[in-house]
Amino acid sequence: MDNAMKVRLLETMLNIRKAELQLAILYKNGKVPCAAHLYEGQEAIAAGVCAQLRVDDCLTSTHRGHGHCIAKGMPMKEMIAEVCARKTGCCGGKGGTMHLFKPDIGVMGTIGIVGAGIPVATGIALAMKMQKTDRVAVSFFGDGAANNGAFHESLNLASVWKLPVIFVCENNRYATSVAVWRSTSVEKIGDRAASYSIPGVTVDGNCVDEVYAATEAALSRARTGQGPTLIEAVTYRVRGHYEGDDAAYRKQGELTEAREHDPIEYWKQKLIEDGVLREEDFAALAAKAEAEAEEAAAFAVDSPFPAPEEALILTAQI
């Protein structure tokens, strides 16, 4: 990884963080019409994976998908405007926080049904293979989704057909109020890859360099026809399941501990130690990301809502 990439990863993480914090404010101010699931604290995963994807590689994501869209290159304005239900959003207000699309940069959808994006990404990879390209599909999903049939069926099929897909499980230790150890048969979800004869790794999802390295290996397999990989990135959900969830079910001390292992702070320190970055460079990058997020929020709030009748566009009327 060269220095430019190191800085780029930091920038992406900052962009996601600042956009999510803007959305938290917009939600408080009543500009987001329903509770959103924010990605704060998991930025290293989206950043570390997407940094190595080409524009023509594709991803699917989940109800917690804002960060993946930003990392794949969706302009903040289009994401925030969609979450604020505006006509200028990436889906014209039809999709909303759980349904973000921008196929021209490979955002093939964030999906509100847990696990449902995994077979879709598998099918995207099938097309990429049948069309004889070296493109790659990535599916981001949570620890909770790894207990759903969609996960198991997709890994098996992708293995049998040697599809160019990377399964990225973001283990943030909770699925709503249910802690992962209460619902999951394995200590490491990465171990489940063995059942499907594909490589599986478990990395610290708050260390962007670890995520980056795991993705590099998975990508080279996928691009050269060697099939899928499962990456488990262990992280922690520092916000409630959705905005407004007080997460009273957390174990005591867990949150404080997680806050101390912040992915942005970790990478910043690393870059300073390596002489890639100075404290004032970081401040400048953070200020730039914050300004962009504020501008995107202002753009969203100033944008019009779609007209009511637009609801029927694209619907088969009989």
Binding site: M98, G144, G149, L312
Partner: protein, 328 residues
């Protein structure tokens, strides 16, 4: 003795009293345990009955629905919470091919006494994957009973009947109704499945409404009364099997029928009621019956579009006026 309590409290009380009465009743689903469920439907029950009977599950809808079938065949009475009706689609085989059919294909040698609970309907910008009203899929499946209460009293009386019933029952909880208050007796009571209630009497037109549409229709009826239009509002409460007799009696009196529902129009509950009335009381209809439903579209996120596609009290009133003005 009756007290004024919220819909969600009435539902919870019904489940609690059945669990106290019958040790074979248990609840399973995502977050039903210590957390008390997505909308707090089971709040406090885990403290009373323990995690053995309030079983948190992984996000495994197919396994939730299917283990409920197996447990029910063995004499337990599971209540499986599938959270949103939209997620029940991941479990359709277990619900529609297994739960619904096993009693029949075994020639009655096994029974499947379970309840699938799921929240349904519009809330606030819940968008395409969390706003469904797909109950007609279940109505269309022989072997299933489908319940959709509109008041706290009905919520309690119907959950008790659903639990005691020896067949699988789909019990729907409308998200807009959880905090609605009403009088509910404290002691356990059962409202028989398949019995409608006339929620308001009237003489000019019959509205058959379900779920949140009952309240909308009552509001509309109140407004229409001021214009001299007398509307009768019937809530079937059980959508399958439905109480055809009560509906026919009403239509024979009023001569006009409007079905208001949140599901879609095509092959929906309203279309069924109209077909039933036409088949059985064509002679008493003075004008062609009509339906008011959610528009036939995926549910959009943005509030102006979302509001546009759903029924509301003003649209119910407008539909009544239009029907009564139509060619006899």
């Amino acid at each position: 003795m009756a007290r004024r309590i919220r819909f969600i409290e009435a539902l919870r009380e019904g489940m609690r009293q059945e669990m106290e009465r019958d040790p074979s009743v248990f609840i399973m689903g995502e977050g039903v345990g210590p957390h008390g469920s997505a909308f707090k439907q089971t709040d406090g029950l885990c403290a009373q009955f323990g995690e053995e009977r309030l079983r948190d599950t992984p996000i495994s809808e197919l396994a939730i629905a299917g283990t409920a079938v197996g447990a029910a065949m063995m004499g337990m009475r599971p209540i499986a919470d599938l959270m949103w009706i939209d997620f029940s689609m991941l479990a359709m085989d277990q619900i529609c091919n297994q739960a619904a059919k096993l009693r029949y294909i075994s020639n009655g040698q096994v029974k499947v006494p379970l309840v699938y609970r799921m929240s349904t309907g519009k809330s606030k910008s819940n968008a395409a994957h969390h706003s469904g009203s797909f109950y007609s899929w279940f109505i269309n499946t022989p072997g299933l009973k489908v319940v959709l209460p509109s008041t706290p009293n009905d919520a309690k009386g119907l959950i008790i009947s659903a639990i005691r019933d020896d067949d699988p029952v789909i019990y729907l909880e409308h998200k807009l109704l959880f905090n609605v208050r009403g009088d509910v007796p404290e002691e356990p009571f059962a409202i028989p499945l398949g019995v409608a209630e006339v929620k308001r009497e009237g003489t000019d037109l019959t509205i058959v409404a379900t779920g949140a549409m009952v309240g909308f229709s009552l509001t509309a009826a109140e407004a229409l009364a001021k214009e001299g239009i007398s509307v009768e509002v019937i809530d079937p409460r059980t959508l399958m099997p439905y109480d055809g007799a009560t509906i026919l009696t009403s239509v024979r009196k009023t001569g006009n029928l409007l079905c208001v529902e949140e599901g879609f129009r095509y092959c929906g509950f309203g279309s069924e009621i109209i077909a039933f009335v036409v088949e059985n009381a064509m002679d008493s209809l003075r004008r062609p019956p009509r339906q008011l439903t959610t528009m036939h579209t995926t549910i959009p996120f943005s509030p102006p579009m979302e509001d546009y596609v759903f029924p509301n009290p003003e649209r119910v009133a407008a539909a009544v006026r239009a029907l009564l003005k139509s060619e006899a």
